[in-house]
């Protein structure tokens, strides 16, 4: 459409308070737009997204007979929907609209006011040229598949799965380890209430196991995901555990019967503080309570000469199957909750703290296991040589708040250090020192817990520990570990001999977070935790519709926050399912039949299998319901005979020319 044909564009430049107006001269942008061909009205306004701002568009459509709208404001992620709606309710087709981002892509990233303003003017000119070519289009709706995939069976995944299942939705819960439970299953007590972790977690774990709406696949991983909101297809690889879950009764006699009399394999669940057999359950409350065989350690897998006493012990049940193979499951789901959690910082990386060199330097997770009644020492806090420590030093911020390792605060270490200080003191009567940089206790009941520890006469030394060493200056230090630290509050340099050092290691993204992120097509923040759509207003959503986040995979947090976020993610999934369908942009590709030469280049390229070849006409055909608008075929067609709604060639050419038409 051109001016001659009655083109009447309305241009609206938003101040966004001072967000845009602080750097871009919005008045100048509006004035320059007013002079563009076809522009009937051009304004700047403080907040275009406010009700009066939207009304302005509606009224102008009526008053000036506008037939195209351009809004220069923030990111389309935030308000494209708002302004399209305003365009529609003003009486125009909502696709006669174009949005220009002069905030994230201009005012927020530039400092020079003149240059930022010129950039805004160029961008608006490009949009005005483009919008003239826009066609009227209709949105389509796609139905939402009511099943949900939850990835990760820590407390986040467990809670999200149960919430969804209780609402009557089917859930597939996929966990990589042999049992669900995540990190929480390793703890004895949880801060700040010191309630027993097992007592609150195991009921939820068995509820998962017994819930008719939950399909639980442990020892499994998602290997492929395709599709889009409402209609995802996922492939799950189920590693063989060599014990058939359906046949196993959980009597665990096979473990007793294993030819390994002594447990010899380092036990991961106990942080390698004890040993397990090649056939094992990770911990007594494991869900499912089905043993797993570790093919690395099992003799049969190496020599094929084992007596296979496990098979004999199982007898008539025939649950042990040493020839089991990986199984693939393919499922349809409408939405996905990622709850893959965190990994603890590897204390070896902080060489000055001597982890892995001095046997009496422990990580917090190791001490969680020592304290745990079902842990390697049945809850007794003893050193590797069997002695009970008289003095214990807890070093905060190991692998946190440190440019050399991880920059962020891990949020839970102060509190779990307090918890460990209390428990160690309670179990051993030891003198306990906490070495901290800042004490961070901002949760409900947290400060009170800190007070409690202070009154228990636990020592608090403010200073980042410089070194843990076995360098002794006199007999009081002989044979012990010495913590060297500046006591910044007392203003002293101190050497404190201790028997046991606990390193409060920080929380990191899982080592494979990058792969998971790519698999589910979401983003992550620079340090590797998954990125939420908006830090305040969309904390469980991602930039990929239908993929939601819960727990520590999004960032370090404690159990209360994890559970709250898991509930929120479940609610978002429920809202989607109950809406029944979602609107999708009409950005599909279509074949211009007269031009198609029938070369079939496009057919195998489509990732959604939306293109077929009509034998009779010898032309390609695109199924509009399957097309996701990725544009692959459009770019690939050698005869340029595929077009794409919303991204038509002429629209893009106009936009480019508009952008380059400065001066």
């Amino acid at each position: 459409m051109s001016e001659r044909d009655g083109l009447r564009i309305g241009v609206y430049v938003c101040h966004c308070g001072t967000n845009i107006a602080g750097t871009v001269d919005v008045r100048a942008v509006a004035e320059s737009a007013a002079a563009l061909p076809g522009v009937a009205v051009s304004r700047d306004y403080k907040y275009m997204c406010s009700d009066p701002g939207q009304d302005l568009i509606r009224q102008d459509i009526q008053k000036f007979g506008l037939n195209r709208i351009v809004v220069a404001a923030c990111s389309p992620h935030l308000h494209e929907h708002t302004f399209r709606t305003a365009t529609r309710t003003g009486g125009l087709n909502e696709f006669y609209f174009q949005m220009v981002n002069i905030r994230e892509q201009d005012s927020w990233v530039h400092e020079h006011k003149g240059a930022a303003t010129r950039k805004a003017i160029d961008l608006v000119r490009a949009a005005a040229r483009r919008v003239a070519r826009h066609r009227a289009l209709e949105k389509s709706r796609t139905p939402i598949h009511p099943a949900v995939l939850v990835v990760g069976g820590g407390i986040a995944g467990i809670h999200a799965a149960l919430t969804l299942a209780n609402a009557g939705k089917h859930v597939y819960l996929v966990e990589r380890e042999p049992s669900i439970g995540g990190h929480m299953a390793k703890f004895d007590k949880t801060f700040p209430t010191l309630d027993c972790a097992a007592c609150i977690l195991t009921p939820k774990m068995s509820a998962v196991k017994n819930h008719p709406n939950i399909t639980l696949w442990t020892y499994s991983e998602v290997t492929a995901v395709e599709g889009y909101i409402g209609n995802y297809k996922a492939t799950i690889a189920r590693r063989p555990r060599y014990i058939d879950e359906d046949l196993c009764a959980g009597c665990l006699e096979c473990i007793d019967a294993c030819v390994f009399r002594q447990a010899k394999v380092p036990d991961e669940f106990n942080e390698d503080l004890s040993r397990r057999k090649p056939i094992y359950v990770p911990f007594p409350q494991a869900v499912p309570l089905v043993p797993v065989i570790d093919p690395e350690a099992c003799i049969e897998f190496h020599s094929h000469k084992c007596k296979k006493t496990c098979v004999t012990a199982c007898g008539e049940r025939h649950a042990v199957n040493l020839r089991a193979e990986e199984k693939l499951e393919r499922i349809d789901i409408g939405s996905i909750v990622l709850a893959t959690g965190f990994r603890a910082y590897d204390a070896r990386r902080s060489a000055n703290y001597g982890y892995g060199v001095y046997p009496n330097v422990y990580t917090a997770l190791e001490v969680e296991r020592l304290i745990n009644a079902s842990g390697p020492t049945a809850g007794e806090v003893v050193l590797r040589d069997g002695r009970t420590p008289q003095t214990v030093g807890i070093v905060h911020c190991v692998g946190s708040r440190d440019e050399n390792t991880n920059r962020w605060c891990s949020r839970v270490c102060c509190m779990y250090s307090l918890k460990l200080a209390h428990l160690v003191k309670e179990r051993t009567g030891a003198e306990v020192f906490n070495f901290y940089i800042d004490m961070r206790t901002p949760g409900k009941g947290f400060e009170e817990f800190y007070q409690k520890l202070l009154s228990e006469r636990v020592h608090f030394v403010r200073g980042r520990v410089a070194e843990v060493t076995d360098w002794a200056l006199d007999s009081s230090e002989e044979g012990r570990l010495v913590i060297r630290v500046e006591d910044t509050l007392a203003g002293l340099f101190r050497r404190i001999p201790v028997d046991m050092v606990i390193l409060s290691t920080g929380l990191e993204p899982q080592p494979d977070a990058g792969d998971v992120r790519r698999l589910f097509n979401i983003s992550s923040s620079p340090e590797g935790f998954f990125l939420e759509r908006h830090p305040k207003l969309a904390p469980v959503n991602t930039f990929t519709e239908g993929v939601l986040l819960a727990g520590c995979c999004q960032g370090p947090k404690d159990i209360p926050d994890t559970v709250a976020q898991a509930g929120a993610a479940a609610a978002e999934a429920l809202a989607l399912i109950d809406a029944g369908s979602v609107e999708t942009d009409p950005n599909t590709a279509y074949v211009m039949e007269e031009a198609c030469s029938g070369c079939k280049t496009c057919v195998p390229l489509c990732p959604y299998h939306a293109i077929s070849f009509a034998q009779a006409a010898r032309k390609a055909e695109i199924n509009q319901a399957l097309c996701k608008g990725c544009g692959t075929c459009v770019a690939a067609c050698p005869s340029s005979s595929i077009g794409q709604n919303l991204f038509e060639d002429d629209e893009i050419f106009e936009e480019s020319e508009g952008l380059l038409a400065y001066a």
Binding site: N352, R401, D402, I437, G463, A466, R484, V485, G491, F493
Partner: protein, 193 residues
């Protein structure tokens, strides 16, 4: 009577800002005051102010206190602080920069050997291109405390006995090149003026 009151008018925030622009000192204002520097410093136990406290004084702009502290002369440039700082602040570079400023402003006890050694070393190397250990120590002792020479006698004899002390004055051929090089450079200290 010990008084520890500090008036805000004594602070020079502009100086603090300048310090933070010197190479290696960029992180000054991001210091956590965690004490990892002082904790790992082998000399902090002898210092009147630990390195952490020097940083606290510098960034609050208490110039005179920071520059007249003995800390900077005890610093052996061992880089422990820099290697351990969680904010990657090059505390050692900061110490160097304070030394330079203190020498220029004469904010050190007049007969303190450390700054005298630095000056004698500088003068000798600037002129001859090399340092002659014997002459350097001799000049430092004469200017700071000639009695030092007595305590050094025994040491000196050990060195002579084992052929490790040369009385030769070392110098390079290219001293004119040195002049050309330093000619293009600033006068001592101008970097921070």
């Amino acid at each position: 009577m010990l008084r520890t009151l500090k008036y805000q008018r004594e602070a020079d925030p502009e100086w603090a800002r300048q310090v933070s622009e010197r190479p290696g000192c960029e992180g000054l204002f991001s210091c956590l005051q965690c004490g990892a520097c002082s904790g790992s410093c082998p000399l902090s136990i002898y210092m009147d102010l630990t390195p952490r406290r020097v940083i606290a004084l510098v960034r609050e702009g208490f110039r005179r206190d920071a520059l007249s502290s003995m800390t900077i002369w005890l610093c052996a440039s061992c880089y422990s602080c820099a290697a351990n700082c969680p904010r990657q602040i090059h505390v050692t570079d900061l110490m160097y920069s304070l030394k330079r400023e203190a020498i220029r402003s004469r904010l050190y006890p007049p007969r303190l050997p450390a700054p005298i050694l630095a000056q004698e070393f500088y003068a000798m190397v600037r002129k001859h291109g090399r340092n002659s250990e014997f002459w350097l120590v001799l000049r430092m002792a004469l200017r700071s405390n000639p009695l030092l020479l007595l305590t050094m006698l025994r040491n000196g004899w050990d060195l002579v006995r084992t052929g490790r002390l040369s009385l030769r004055r070392e110098r390079i051929h290219g001293t004119s090149e040195l002049v050309a090089l330093s000619g293009a450079g600033p006068r001592p200290g101008r970097a921070e003026a």
